[in-house]
């Protein structure tokens, strides 16, 4: 059983951030434990297209569908807020 398929209780933002870090590392090779909620997406090397791809990957990994996201998202935290609320709404906080 891989880390990805183990049921995880995503009941706090640190667990969400961890998942977001995982996808960054696995899909984009951006492996940096110093990524925080304040890190800007731009500083990670994600331009607008890479950002969309990032959200698609998060949808796949977290089994959620994200709504149309505002174009002015700047930080990892901005995205994490939306991901967190969608996880709660769509999976009751537990994702496979």
């Amino acid at each position: 059983m891989t880390a990805d398929s183990r049921p995880t209780k995503l009941n706090d933002m640190s667990a969400i951030l961890e998942k977001m870090r995982e996808v960054l590392a696995k899909h984009f090779g951006i492996d940096d434990s110093s990524i925080t909620m304040e890190s800007t997406l731009e500083s990670l090397g994600l331009d607008s297209l890479a950002f969309i791809e990032y959200t698609f990957e998060l949808e796949k990994v977290l089994h959620i569908v994200l709504p149309d996201l505002p174009r002015d998202m700047v930080t990892v935290g901005d995205l994490a807020q939306v991901v967190d609320s969608e996880v709660r709404r769509q999976t009751q906080g537990a994702v496979a």
Binding site: H27, F28, G29, I30, G45, L49, A50, I52, E53, F56, E59, V65
Partner: protein
């Protein structure tokens, strides 16, 4: 002969199934090492595919925005830039990228269709368009090196790269540019495209005992072309600038000929290619007797090789039988939109080394193909003043390039 500035070839780069550098590529051409193998996902078809380790060259983030054909292009461009010993800040407004590709980012297109048609997958990659566009390779080269002059892509099927090189040559000779990164890239070995090629019935039947020998140009038992993939890149610049940079110029691009058959979409004519060869010779200001080696288009289709032989005889007359003609496609396959670049590089390296790469897997004389095809064994210690490289495309376009030793008049 067209007046204008002299154009030097000062850098070479190759990515191919028989080597990911120009020297390795040429060594394998000379020794007859074939890159043709059965496709892993379709063993009824052979192709010259590359075990390309993308992660050795690019980060994961870079790979999300580079289709396989653009990866090949960047790796070959890097080798050519190094080979030419270009300084870090070589790029400027009078530098351009002239590139060729028949299909561009075919892998991105196909995987987007797969996602689109799979009900389990909701999304198509947002990168699909920028990965797939035909000019993605040229664009990524200009991005990487900060090239602010023209960044162009010619998509003319199997003549794409030859035309890109020829047009870059004209732009430099005519004073519009001082330096160009020119060449082509193709990565078309996708399952859907292979099925399309098979449906067209132009691919070689795999040799059951020796699949690596399935492509047999000019041999009577040839049965069709074998697809390849890869990239070839040249640095072209004015002789004056190259010498000012302290480079010893050994090779000049001397002539370019370009014609169309206007007769059939796929069936070649002898007249169109012959006219292109004559035009290239006139452009170079050379008599046919100056040519010491022809790298043929030589796809190994039953008709194509006969027609090219006939065209060469039309142009070279009684001298035709004396000129070594070889098709290196037997080893690296048909690189389609990139073939004109890797084969012109093979011709340039033959010119420089005096070694003529053979036509491999040649076993049976075809009475309709009666030239000197340098059968199976490299010919060394040949004094060559000038070489010709032929590229003929579906659609009827014919492109011919001539290079000469810089010491030759």
């Amino acid at each position: 002969m067209q007046a204008g500035r002299r154009v030097a070839v000062t850098g070479l780069g190759v990515v191919s199934a028989i080597g990911n550098s120009a020297p390795e590529f040429f060594t394998n051409l000379a020794s007859g090492r074939s890159g043709v193998r059965p496709l892993p996902y379709r063993t009824d078809t052979v192709a010259a595919f590359i075990d390309f380790r993308s992660n050795d060259y690019f980060t994961k983030l870079e790979l999300t925005r580079l289709d396989r054909f653009a990866q090949f292009a960047l790796v070959a461009a890097q080798e050519a830039v190094r080979d030419a010993a270009l300084e870090k800040d070589f790029a400027g407004p009078r530098v351009g990228v002239y590139f060729g590709s028949g299909f561009g980012g075919a892998n991105a297109v196909e995987s987007s269709y797969c996602s689109f048609l799979d009900p389990a997958q909701a999304r198509v990659s947002p990168m699909t368009i920028v990965l797939a566009m035909a000019n993605a390779a040229a664009a990524n080269i200009s991005l990487r090196y900060g090239i602010r002059g023209p960044s162009l892509t010619y998509s003319v099927a199997c003549a794409s790269a030859a035309i890109a090189i020829g047009e870059a040559f004209r732009a430099i000779r005519d004073g519009y540019l001082d330096l160009a990164i020119a060449g082509g890239a193709e990565a078309l070995l996708t399952p859907g495209t292979i099925a399309s090629w098979n449906a067209m019935r132009v691919l070689a039947a795999p040799d059951p005992d020796h699949p690596e020998q399935s492509c047999r140009p000019f041999s009577l038992n040839r049965s069709g072309l074998v697809l390849g993939e890869g990239a070839g890149v040249l640095i072209l610049e004015t002789v004056e600038q190259a010498e000012r940079r302290g480079r010893v110029v050994t090779t000049e691009l001397a002539g370019f000929g370009l014609t169309s058959d206007a007769s059939h979409l796929t069936k070649p004519s002898a007249e169109g290619p012959a006219a292109a060869m004559r035009m290239a010779l006139a452009d170079a200001g050379m008599p046919p007797s100056a040519i010491g080696y022809i790298n043929a288009h030589g796809t190994a289709t039953p008709i194509g090789d006969v027609v090219e032989t006939s065209a060469i005889k039309q142009v070279f007359g009684s001298n035709a039988q004396k000129i070594p003609v070889s098709s290196t496609k037997a080893l690296h396959g048909h690189l389609l939109g990139a073939s004109g670049a890797v084969e012109f590089i093979a011709a340039v390296m033959a010119l420089r080394s005096g070694s003529i790469p053979p036509t491999c897997h040649y076993t049976q004389l075809d009475p309709q193909c009666d030239l000197d095809y340098v059968a199976n064994v490299v010919r060394t210690h040949v004094v060559i003043d000038a070489v010709m490289s032929n590229s003929f495309a579906f659609g009827g376009t014919n492109a011919v390039l001539i290079a000469k030793a810089a010491s030759a008049a």
